[in-house]
Point group: C2
């Protein structure tokens, strides 16, 4: 049972919407569906409408994924990603935030940005700016690297070696924390029209950072925002990734096709947080999930069948190849998988998803996996009426101890509109979903414990209030 709940009180489930500034995020082929608006991703109207829908449904946040390269793992070219639109073209996520913040009051915005691409001095300013403009509603999904194609276009021969990438990211976050937490005292800004003092210079401190990768001698150029450090998100399943998350992440995104796998993953993340000296519930865990819902079970099932008919198998193979780092173009999608070395990981993935789908017939081929992935990505797909979906989500939360779900779309924004219309009221009726937003910043909404990082979080050691001698 979750901390702070009793038998009579249902735990409230958190919802993030999962989107990306591109045409095909997790559902290749479905941009062709008549209801789909994904190809208007490059207009402000798409994003402000989505933000309003999500706020109406009291979603905690919109999580915007990102890559800076193409999924050229499949067949070693850009051909299939471009043709299918699989996460290419893809626009910048940070530029979307202020327009959406202007039409909402409570929705959080988790933007993805890599530590490999921009100097932390300039990047920390972008984060602070967004936290100011949103009144403290910004999260940063930290990625340490991803696609080799991105690294090549940034003038690197390849990504840094995996562990070194995390060492680099560790120092990158240290610089960001020092700038956002450790430079300006809380009362440095006086904004005093009488005295004419905007900032008291004695309360602004140089961070004097000198590390292996970065040298930042000066002060932060931004005044403190509500959260200072945005809520830190992370998605990383390697052991080095989980160590990084255990120290830095306040929200973790996971993708687990079954309840059993999810339960184990959640326990591993909470154990790691505890090992890092934090409370095991100081990390909110969101499991990827795609929901197809409607007024009735039958209508939802018919909708799913309709969606499936638009799934693009080639596009799905492009995404799976990128996610797994294995070129699926070398395998016949319609042949049963052989026992060759390259397909072992794939075979186990196919089997897991087939099991998750409840299909215990003939072993799936890659095409069948791709059809599954085509309607919302690598997570589980739940099809049913609002009540059915609500019951299933509650069951998953109770069984796995996960905090909530990162909801991918099949068709956008219709998938999110459906969840808001059919699922949210059913969850609310069961006491399993907020009926009002909590006050304050995104961090306070998630944890109910103030706007700033907790004292047990890695960033807290850089707080200026923890570094200056006590006064008086």
């Amino acid at each position: 049972m979750a901390r702070g709940t009793s038998m009579s009180q249902q735990r409230e489930i958190l919802f993030n919407a999962f989107d990306m500034n591109c045409v095909v995020h997790q559902s290749p082929g479905l941009w062709r569906h008549p209801d789909d608006k994904a190809s208007t991703y490059n207009t402000i109207g798409y994003w402000t409408h989505l933000a309003k829908v999500l706020e109406k449904g009291k979603f905690d946040g919109l999580f915007i994924a990102d890559v800076l390269g193409t999924y050229d793992v499949f067949n070693g070219t850009n051909e299939s990603p471009l043709r299918s639109g699989a996460q290419a073209p893809v626009n910048d996520p940070m530029m979307l935030v202020s327009a959406m913040a202007a039409v909402t009051e409570n929705l959080g915005f988790g933007v993805t940005a890599g530590t490999a691409y921009e100097h932390p001095y300039a990047f920390a300013r972008r984060l602070a700016t967004l936290d100011h403009l949103t009144n403290g509603r910004v999260g940063w999904n930290v990625v340490t690297g991803y696609l080799p194609s991105a690294a090549r276009n940034m003038g690197q021969e390849d990504q840094m070696e995996h562990d070194e990438r995390y060492n680099h990211a560790d120092e990158y976050l240290e610089v960001v924390y020092k700038l956002l937490e450790g430079s300006w005292e809380d009362d440095a800004v006086q904004n005093n029209k009488e005295t004419g003092i905007y900032t008291d210079p004695a309360k602004v401190h140089s961070i004097e950072h000198e590390g292996k990768f970065f040298k930042v001698p000066g002060i932060a150029i931004t005044e403190p925002s509500i959260q200072r450090t945005p809520v830190i998100y992370q998605a990383g399943a390697s052991s080095r990734g989980i160590k990084f998350a255990s120290e830095n992440a306040e929200a973790v995104f996971v993708t687990s096709p079954t309840r059993e796998i999810l339960k184990a993953t959640v326990a591993k993340i909470r154990d790691a947080a505890e090992a890092a000296g934090r409370d095991r519930y100081d990390v909110k865990i969101f499991a990827m999930q795609t929901i197809i819902t409607d007024e009735t079970s039958e209508k939802a099932q018919a909708k799913y069948e309709d969606y499936k008919s638009y799934a693009d198998v080639e596009g799905a193979q492009v995404l799976i190849s990128g996610w797994m780092g294995i070129d699926l173009s070398e395998l016949n999608p319609d042949e049963p998988l052989g026992a060759n070395l390259k397909s072992n990981a794939i075979q186990s993935t196919v089997e897991t998803f087939q099991k998750a789908s409840g299909d215990d017939g003939n072993p799936w081929t890659i095409r069948q996996l791709a059809e599954w992935v085509g309607v919302g990505g690598f997570g589980p797909i739940t099809v049913g009426s609002g009540a059915e979906v609500a019951e299933k989500l509650i069951d998953w939360v109770d069984y796995t101890d996960v905090d909530g779900f990162n909801l991918a779309y099949a068709v956008t924004p219709a998938t999110f509109e459906d969840v808001v219309e059919y699922v949210v009221p059913e969850l609310q009726a069961r006491g399993a979903y907020k009926t009002e937003y909590a006050q304050g910043s995104l961090r306070n909404k998630l944890f109910g414990d103030g706007d700033r990082v907790k004292e047990t979080h890695r960033a807290a050691q850089y707080k200026i209030s923890n570094r200056l001698p006590a006064k008086g």
Copy 2:
């Protein structure tokens, strides 16, 4: 007389508003004025209100200046910049655009970004994203570097040497042009729900850039936006700066305290454009100007006197020191300037501004210069009724051949609201200001010749349509 006008037709004057994501842009001390809202720079409301005011007044654009460091030239510390708020703290300008674009339809947005800080691959994507979101209303004010304090915090010992900085910037723009103009053919994006082809891969080309500073082998990750390359702005007065502008800039910002100096500067820029193979009117030139206006001449004069009483001499000295690269703290602000070497440039500046102000009394001290600068920066200040200001601006345009004005504020947004209320109608009544926006992109609004860079512009050589063999 300007090209394309006749004796009977008055040339239309262009207006840019000049602002910055900070408390004190060009008018130190005036944030203390009761009408001033500058200290709400970190809220969305400030910017969306300003954008609506400017669009109501049919301004061509909002130009957002930027620095990534402090003005620590004065006295060698951050003390005075922080106390006075002189361009510190300062937030990121790009994050503001989408919120303002959502509440306007025609206003352009000129954002400042340096070539020294971010890799052009990631930066080109930010530009493309903003051009998409604004429907082609974005300009990029290119700066090659500025404050040594910024360079130090980005891990550089100092800025690159001046000419090398421009060589680096030249290649930076080359990469941006290749990505935005030379990768995706116009009809690469098919967005065809029937065939399932989002992009035709055969129409997307790797840029294969290999230069002294950058190596970018791949394709652009963004699809073409309306303008592709945003309108390129520049402000640079050195001969290398003017060469750079002559090849790249479509709009140039200049600061000239007198008509005579402005006339010479305008001619020099137009000559340079012509020498670079372009039409001398293919560069729109905006002169910095601060307008204090009201219903009557008397009320405007009283307003000016009121504003002057808030000017912060120390803050002005901070800005002047940064702009000129000379530490004014070493000079007594109330003593007549001696003939020492350090003060020669200052002395000539003081004399020029005194002359521009029309004050032919005792020679100004630095304090008097600072008081002048305190109400709107290093440009001329025009005080008068709407009609008086309109006559003066028309006179300046006729005399100098400048295209328009880059309007700084004394008090924000009141200074802009006053211009919209009192000056714009008087200019319109004289046929010297648009009564409707032109259609299309920012570039088309400025030049009336389509959304894309002209064939004589440096970026045109990288257009994919100019690089592929003719078809058929």
